[in-house]
């Protein structure tokens, strides 16, 4: 009697709750640390050993001092240890407690990643632009106008500060001069909607066109221009965009691609900034051809009106001197092809035998320069 008892009398280092994963029962097991691993002594007397290098612990547990252990490769069985000396011993004996228990399915991961990237790329770069181009062609002018009005309101909100929309400059003489100028720069055939010129009271040296014939000039651009011809050249360029219906295509395309990009980046930290940047990138790679076409339109129409096309070049030249050529990040963020190329193209459009006249008289130009108020 006493002999059999002695056989089962093992000195345990501690106890733990064990779940096997077959039934919702807990089994109290005695634990012993040996040189090669952790011995589990079951209530029925059977013993099994978990080798030190196979033991893993669940990570990110709320109870930092205790341990929940399992064997590498085993799916269900768990050993739940309270905090104490034994838990600390195991932490020092088991070398790979926090290693991955299952191999990473690389092949599957790579296949699906490639599939997702390919499908998103196909949608953003092929399907959506293609559909946008098609739909832009059949969008009725009223629709285009409405799209432009909505976008204009949004942009004014963004450029303004807090709740205040950015102000427009309405100096009467300036408006009349610009109005007269833009009529000369229109194409010979009629546009489906009138071109609408807005001057924003904002420091940016920029100009852009929106769907439905809106053309926006910034005060910063008028101030940076060294003569009416440079403003005329920029205006002609933007009207070129209107003629090409580029803004409409662009607006429809971003409607499609912004949602897809939001899907990819998820809603971490209000990912709007990343989203915006990414969308700008796509914009740039997409509209180079449209920019070149708008430049060509400007060259032709300026030539027709007897205004020197070189002014587009001189304006770019000064931008280049001031800010450097748009390399690297800037090249992607500005939707314009590199300045160097455009300056050369503008120069090439000049007819050396022709006498050019300024696009507006001295008084008109002064009115344009002061239309945002005298500062």
């Amino acid at each position: 009697m006493s002999e059999t008892q002695v056989q089962f009398q093992v000195e345990f280092d501690g106890f733990a709750d064990c779940v096997a994963g077959h039934r919702a029962v807990l089994t109290r097991v005695g634990l012993r640390c040996s040189a090669t691993g952790l011995e589990l002594h079951m209530p029925d007397g059977s013993v099994c050993q978990w080798r030190w290098e196979d033991i893993r612990a669940l990570r990110d547990q709320a109870d930092r001092d205790g341990l929940v252990l399992f064997q590498k490769g085993a799916v269900l069985a768990r050993l739940i240890l309270p905090k104490g000396e034994l838990a600390d011993t195991i932490k020092s004996c088991a070398p790979s407690l926090s290693k991955r228990a299952h191999p990473v399915p690389w092949r599957k991961l790579v296949t699906w990643s490639a599939g997702a990237v390919a499908s998103v790329a196909a949608i953003i770069f092929v399907l959506v632009p293609l559909m946008a181009a098609q739909l832009a062609d059949i969008l009725p002018p009223e629709g285009e106008k409405a799209l432009g009005d909505t976008t204009l309101a949004q942009i004014r909100q963004v450029l303004g500060e807090a709740e205040v929309q950015v102000a427009t400059c309405n100096g009467a003489g300036g408006l009349a001069a610009l109005d007269h100028l833009h009529r000369r720069l229109l194409p010979e055939e009629d546009l489906p909607y009138p071109v609408d010129i807005h001057v924003f009271d904002h420091d940016l040296v920029n100009a852009f066109a929106l769907p439905g014939g809106h053309v926006i000039l910034f005060r910063g651009l008028i101030e940076a221009a060294e003569g009416p011809d440079e403003v005329a050249a920029v205006l002609a360029h933007e009207i070129g965009h209107v003629v090409g219906r580029d803004p409409t295509r662009d607006a429809l395309r971003s409607a499609g691609s912004i949602g897809v990009l939001g899907l990819l980046f998820g809603d971490f930290a209000g990912g709007t900034v990343v989203l915006f940047l990414a969308n700008q990138m796509i914009n740039a790679s997409y509209s180079q051809a449209a920019e070149t076409a708008a430049d060509e339109y400007a060259h032709n129409v300026l030539e027709r009106e007897g205004i020197s096309p070189a002014s587009l070049g001189t304006f770019f030249q000064r931008l280049k001197d001031q800010y450097g050529d748009a390399e690297g990040l800037l090249a992607h963020l500005s939707t314009h092809p590199q300045l160097e190329k455009r300056i050369l193209a503008a120069g090439a459009a000049v007819d050396g035998t022709k006498a050019y006249t300024p696009s507006m008289g001295r008084a008109d130009w002064d009115a344009v320069r002061t239309m945002c108020g005298v500062r």
Binding site: I80, D267, F268
Partner: protein
């Protein structure tokens, strides 16, 4: 033998959780969102393991890589829908209605069934990856049925100005719970239809009283009646906390896992206290962050007054420095506030609801058997894509 009572312990602590959330939040930021699958998995592991019925921690076995794969699966399907459908809607709404409101409305309405579908799938995935005592939880299929019924019930709740909301809440809870399992044992949500109306009483009383005050003010032209608002406004806020606590109690005490029952005593005052105190702490953290960022921005810019604003080049240089600082500051605030709100709101609430709850087991636990693993090709990819339950 009297039934065994298993108290639920809670092991989570605000400090470690805050740092875990902060760390994983920054990783998510640095990887442009890709780490979010790991972040969410790690936070769930923490929250799950904190709940210890009878001293044995819950376990969350979801895998980040499985989530990433599920996300990729969802992207392939959803990218097409979102890209093409949004574009077409936009076109039609401008071509025929000259405005984009319709496009937004249609695009949103088109997503509603998908939203409920994704919510059900996400719950099923989470249950399938939850274990206690080594036994898996699980859920039957039924996502489209849930989407259909949810729309009907929520539609009714909206039409009746929220009067049927307690009905809706219980009804949908029944739909979800009655399809849930612990091991091979089905879980049941009991309770009469009107079970949850009592939990709403402290919302209804002050609303009725406000109505009375309004009528009296109008009838007797005596604005003194409006002073009643001083009573009813805080009463409604308390009523909302009372609803949180009492509806939880009523629903969990009518849940049945075979013979196993639950008992719970959540306190509305505690719930309210967590929100009020948490709000104060969160505001202090936010102010401190703002001051730090403002100070940093000032140091980086080297003091603002030396600038000649007429000089374009200097403005360019200045914005080249300040824009990254502002962007970094914005994200810093965003990640920190996210982590802080988990530590200040989510954790104490979970702790309170866990600690006041008991599992009453007349010996049935030992008979519950394991269930098979529920493979999930898309994990919670759709929910992730649609931002359903983005918190945890």
């Amino acid at each position: 033998m009297p039934p065994r009572i298993l108290p639920v312990h809670y092991a989570g602590r605000a400090g470690p959780l805050f740092f875990l959330a902060l760390k994983t939040g920054f990783f998510t930021l640095l990887t442009l969102g890709m780490y979010r699958f790991w972040a969410r998995t790690r936070l769930r592991r923490y929250f799950w393991s904190a709940i210890r019925p009878g001293g044995i921690p819950m376990e969350y076995v979801g895998d980040p890589i499985e989530k990433l794969l599920g996300f990729l699966v969802a992207v392939v399907i959803m990218a097409f829908y979102i890209g093409v459908v949004n574009l077409i809607l936009m076109y039609f709404s401008f071509a025929f209605f000259q405005g984009n409101e319709l496009a937004y409305v249609l695009s949103f309405v088109g997503l509603i069934p998908l939203y409920f579908y994704a919510a059900y799938r996400a719950r099923r995935y989470i249950l399938a990856r939850t274990r206690w005592r080594g036994i898996r939880f699980g859920m039957e299929q039924g996502a489209w049925g849930y989407a259909l019924r949810s729309m009907a019930h929520w539609g009714l709740a909206i039409v009746t100005l929220g009067l049927t909301f307690p009905l809706t809440r219980l009804w949908l809870e029944k739909f979800l719970t009655n399809r849930s399992y612990f091991g091979d044992q089905q879980i049941k949500q009991g309770g009469e239809h009107f079970l949850l109306y009592g939990a709403m009483k402290h919302v209804y009383y002050p609303i009725i009283l406000t109505g009375v005050a309004g009528v009296m003010t109008w009838a007797f032209d005596n604005p003194v009646w409006l002073a009643l608002m001083l009573l009813t406004a805080p009463w409604v806020i308390f009523g909302w906390a009372y609803w949180k606590a009492e509806s939880f109690r009523r629903m969990i005490e009518t849940k049945e896992v075979g013979q196993i029952r639950f008992r719970s005593k959540p306190r509305a005052g505690r719930v309210l206290g967590i929100y009020l105190l948490g709000g104060v702490i969160l505001n202090i953290v936010l102010s401190a962050l703002m001051i730090i960022i403002a100070a940093l921005a000032f140091v980086v810019m080297g003091g603002a007054d030396i600038f000649d604003l007429g000089d374009l080049e200097q403005i360019e240089q200045m914005s080249a420095v300040t824009v990254p600082v502002i962007v970094a500051g914005y994200f810093l605030v965003f990640v920190t506030m996210g982590a802080a709100s988990k530590a200040i709101f989510t954790l104490p609430l979970a702790a309170h609801f866990a600690e006041v709850t008991q599992v009453i087991d007349p010996g049935e636990l030992a008979t519950i058997r394991q269930r098979d693993r529920d493979e999930f090709a898309e994990a919670e990819g759709f929910a992730d894509a649609l931002d359903v339950g983005a918190a945890i």
